[in-house]
Symmetry: C2
Subunit: 258 residues, 2 copies
């Protein structure tokens, strides 16, 4: 089957492969120096959306989220976390015309009880990555796959704006209970660097003294006997994550308040 035939087959027979009524949407946050972005896809036939897809009949949820993200954006090895299921009956308002747009072959009339016209609930996952280090790729359905500023998202498909907003709220709560930064900062980093990461994600200022004190007291970062040479009068100490304590905190949870 070529790609166009695959799409046609998906429309006609997808209900045999996938669970009805259910999809997954992934909110991928990208961090880099003071900037927090969200990864969006621009459909060939429609507007911008999150990376989403359907769950196979026998597929575990997390595996489905990983597969969907990989298929739609090329990204993998992200730490995806489930945060909320979206189920307003009005959230998915797909019409027969929308389905016909997906495939030039599928011009056959779409019956009223077509599986894609049913109410769909969506399970939201989020992850955070360092956006300067990855290269997302648009899939067959999309003409673009790009990072957008978290404060300046374009008009989005269905309720994807709400899903992105709730993902950010969940991330901002979770950051007090799970360490973050291992793949977002250089192996050795300065206090201002990790401070910027937390301030950018939380979208607020954090106390210069309490913030590092807290991270050091729970033990997830440790000071190195090594300084970074920035200029004649600036050579801040370097720090690194204590991977053992970081992983323990990831598993058991911590309580940080800066």
């Amino acid at each position: 089957m070529n790609k166009q035939e695959e799409v046609h087959d998906f429309i006609q027979n997808g209900h045999k492969t996938y669970l009805k009524h259910l999809s997954i949407d992934c909110v991928i946050f990208g961090y880099h120096e003071h900037q927090l972005k969200v990864l969006l896809l621009k459909s060939k036939k429609s507007i911008w959306s999150l990376a989403g897809g359907f769950i196979k009949r026998d597929e575990p949820l997390l595996e489905a989220a990983i597969r969907i993200l990989k298929e739609r954006t090329g990204l993998d090895e992200l730490f995806l976390q489930q945060f909320q299921t979206f189920g307003e009956p009005s959230r998915s308002y797909r019409t027969a015309e929308d389905i016909k747009k997906l495939s030039d072959v599928a011009k056959a009339s779409i019956s009223k009880d077509h599986w894609l016209l049913d109410r769909t609930l969506s399970i939201g996952y989020y992850a955070v990555t360092e956006y300067s280090k990855v290269t997302p790729q648009a899939d067959f359905f999309s003409e673009k796959c790009e990072w957008w500023d978290v404060d300046g998202l374009p008009a989005l498909f269905f309720d994807h704006h709400l899903i992105a907003t709730e993902a950010l709220k969940a991330l901002r709560t979770q950051i007090y209970h799970q360490p973050i930064g291992f793949n977002l900062l250089p192996e050795k980093f300065t206090l201002p660097e990790i401070h910027d990461l937390y301030e950018t994600i939380l979208g607020k200022k954090l106390d210069r003294r309490n913030f590092p004190k807290k991270l050091l007291s729970v033990g997830i970062i440790k000071k190195l006997n090594e300084q970074k040479k920035i200029g004649a009068h600036r050579s801040p100490f370097l720090y690194k994550f204590d991977k053992r304590k970081y992983d323990k905190a990831l598993k058991e949870g911590i309580v940080l308040a800066f």
Copy 2:
């Protein structure tokens, strides 16, 4: 229709009223003086379980959770919060025999593609109530509806033990970001009383000095010019919630760390 006919009709025609593949399970925590409990139902034909049910085709999720809890336990007016969706393919292992047990009328053979044999994902909700102030009622399917100690749950249906465990984790995280206690304590309470509530829910000791200091500094409780007479030498000051600040914190979130 009598109740038994209703059950038969549900088995035969439920897929026309309810969404396939999806259910809701409610973890209701009950607090009272040093005790944290979970509300469980004992099925007439099977073991203990959470209060669960199916979602109507056009029903908003939260409405469905409220309806299901009311139908199965009689409880209402609880602040139900969604926390996680459970979707391991192996979690729901209902057999044709299990379905036949539900109804003495439904002895007709259950076909292999019967809607109740399909994989079911479940959306978890939790709430906390003061268990000495409510009287749960077992529904038609159940012979008992009782509070069980959170640390001593019996064998539970499907993955309900996991759902209860994850609900407790979610509650223990959320308590740092949302105030709790308005319907769990008397209108006027002492610091030891609110201290016990938080310690019991978190399952750990909290600092005697920092704990009240934090609640007072975010403003959700305020000290009254009034003392409780306990004995000749004990008359602790009374406190009450500042309802305006409490509701604001409930809406916007806070960060507490004791």
